[in-house]
């Protein structure tokens, strides 16, 4: 459904754009209906940039992003953009900043209505909103008409998901949607995503928290400095991380029942490890994705 082919993004930074920053370089992956793909990587690895490109909030410097077969860069004009957004929506990290603080929180629904459902009657629309709210587990009476600061982060985040559901979307980009939430609310939101996935929604789940990525996703894409270093079924990637970077990342994740020392020990025991891709025929240290198994590829760019 969503296919990224050699997508790159270069920012001009510094005063007057004197320097170039390659935030994303030649990224490939796809998201199928009903699949959750998690994009995992440390800060600055280009996760959000990919998410924004998919959402057409920024344009790709090169490569193609195709949604249902059509290159989204070709969607010119207001009408086609709108059309696209009725299929693909996003939810962002900071629920507080997603709401205009001076308006009631349900304004996000009003915006959607104004653009997409002008003809729908008030009552009908209200029913749809309430429906969506119930889907995300909110009590309409509790949240409608409230200001953002009167609602909790979890509630706000769910409002945003409900907003996306008001449109007949096929694809949801969820950019760190839970990192700002309390541990207990987090899981509720994650569970909600799980339910949506069951309804056939494709989800691009962006996170730096591997345990969360693992919990919800089918496929994991590990990013490092804008490049995909490992891609594969979540189970494979986490149980048998191939790339040394993935392994190091995993060892740094604080876990309840494993201490860092233990993780280090395991890492030491298994050996830092070579990139299996290099071994499997890629040019050492500078090769693109090399398939290790069905649905498990590794890339290596240490030399570049």
């Amino acid at each position: 459904m969503l296919d990224l082919r050699q997508v790159s993004k270069t920012y001009r930074v510094g005063a007057f754009g004197g320097r170039r920053l390659h935030a994303v370089r030649g990224v490939d992956f796809s998201v199928r209906p009903g699949e959750v793909v998690s994009l995992i990587g440390e800060s600055g690895s280009g996760k959000s940039t990919i998410g924004k490109m998919v959402l057409r909030l920024i344009s790709a410097s090169s490569g193609t992003i195709a949604f249902e077969g059509a290159d989204i860069a070709g969607l010119r004009g207001h009408a086609r953009t709108k059309e696209y957004y009725s299929r693909v929506q996003g939810v962002f990290q900071d629920p507080f900043s997603c709401f205009n603080p001076i308006f009631p929180a349900d304004r996000v629904f009003e915006l959607v209505r104004a653009e997409y459902a002008g003809a729908v009657s008030q009552a009908h629309w209200r029913a749809r909103v309430e429906d969506a709210l119930t889907t995300v587990g909110l009590d309409p009476a509790q949240v409608l008409g409230k200001f953002p600061h009167q609602l909790s982060g979890g509630q706000l985040q769910r409002l945003l998901i409900a907003r996306a559901l008001l449109l007949d979307i096929r694809m949801l980009v969820a950019d760190e949607i839970i990192s700002m939430l309390d541990a207990s609310t987090r899981i509720d939101v994650l569970n909600l995503l799980g339910d949506l996935k069951a309804r056939g929604l494709g989800i691009l789940f962006i996170t730096h928290d591997l345990s969360l990525g693992n919990y919800i996703s089918d496929t994991a894409v590990i990013l490092r400095r804008g490049r995909v270093v490992e891609r594969g079924a979540t189970s494979a990637a986490f149980s048998a991380p191939a790339h040394p970077y993935t392994r190091r990342l995993l060892a740094s994740v604080p876990q309840l029942h494993t201490s860092w020392q233990q993780a280090d020990a395991r890492l030491a025991q298994e050996g830092e490890g070579e990139c299996p891709g290099c071994a499997a025929g890629g040019r050492p240290g500078e090769h693109g994705p090399v398939d290790l198994a069905d649905d498990h590829a590794v890339g290596c760019y240490t030399a570049a």
Binding site: A183, I187, F238, S252, P254, L256, H257
Partner: protein, 320 residues
């Protein structure tokens, strides 16, 4: 038991607002042994930062209502800005929540440190070698002193602040959410460096504030979980993770996914409901409304008692 370095008794600190007092800290008692790193966990708004601030520098809206704080046997005049000054930095020190913006952007780091040290009446030359040594310890070379904060990455700034805050070997270090904005790898190095400081005796004890239980578990000796302005449970970190007594702690832990747990495999559940507002909190146990074990007695405030050696909890159900 080791010597107690910090002793907080029934501390209550409210924020004055237009609509009334926000009871952000409402009767907190705990003590910290020499060399202890205490993780302070709890959801957002539970009063972690308020506690941290109370121990070193209250802001203009905070009022101490009751309670006392003793550090190494002397009482800290927490609500007297002037009287607190001699304690700050020397005895109590802080790594603030936003270490990224804690350094003056227009002063070279070295100069700022020098001026700060001198302003505290300390001979900078005497401290300088130690400063360099500690910078090296956290993996920074002496050149950072000639740089401006903006020239350093977030992690580097974080470490500079760490070194600076602990330079005078304070008894108590408060680290407020120092790792929250960092990614996992940096998080780890910072946390480990802090523990290392304790190990080397740069600081006697530390309160490590975070909302990430998994992280705090990695370095803390004890963990105190707060809920709505009150401590819910305090015990050694192992105990808190493996044998929590307070229902809140338990529910919190059970909602944490771990690597390996998946949605399709084992569906985790969150804690239903929301914490009470602190403007006018209900009487009795504040977790009552969300607690599956709540019973009539919970309308009374449960005391924070030692339910086992080194294990305190505030719940009627855990007593006995």
């Amino acid at each position: 038991m080791r010597r107690v370095s910090l002793d907080v008794t029934d501390l209550a600190v409210y924020y004055r607002t237009l609509r009334g007092d926000v009871r952000a800290l409402d009767g907190v008692s705990f003590s910290l042994a020499d060399g202890e790193i205490m993780g302070l966990a709890g959801e957002s708004g539970s009063g972690k930062s308020t506690l941290a601030k109370s121990l070193i520098r209250m802001d203009g809206r905070m009022r101490r209502i009751r309670g006392r704080v003793e550090l190494d046997g002397t009482e800290l005049p927490v609500d007297d800005q002037r009287a607190m000054v001699p304690f700050r930095f020397h005895e109590v020190s802080l790594i603030p929540q936003y270490a990224m913006s804690a350094l003056n952007p227009t002063r070279r780091i070295g100069r700022m440190i020098r001026e700060l040290i001198r302003s505290r009446g300390i001979d900078y030359t005497a401290v300088h070698p130690e400063l360099l040594r500690r910078l090296e310890l956290v993996g920074l070379d002496a050149q950072v002193l000639d740089r401006f904060p903006i020239e350093l990455s977030g992690g580097m700034k974080q470490r500079v602040v760490m070194v600076l805050s602990t330079l005078l070997d304070p008894s108590l270090l408060i680290a407020d959410e120092v790792t929250s904005a960092l990614d996992v790898t940096t998080q780890r190095s910072v946390a480990e460096a802090l523990a290392g400081f304790r190990d080397r005796g740069f600081i006697t004890s530390m309160i490590f504030v975070t909302h990430d239980l998994a992280l705090v578990h990695q370095i803390a000796d004890t963990i105190m979980v707060m809920y709505a302005g009150r401590p819910a449970e305090k015990a050694s970190s192992r105990t808190v993770i493996e044998a929590p007594r307070h229902p809140y702690t338990r529910m919190l832990l059970s909602s944490l996914p771990e690597v390996g747990v998946t949605f399709s495999g084992k569906r985790l559940e969150g804690i239903p409901g929301q914490p009470p507002g602190l403007l006018d909190p209900p009487e009795g146990c504040r977790f009552r409304d969300r607690c599956p074990l709540a019973f009539a007695k919970c309308a009374e405030e449960p005391p924070f008692t030692e339910v086992a050696p080194g294990h305190w909890a505030a719940c009627w159900k855990v007593e006995g």
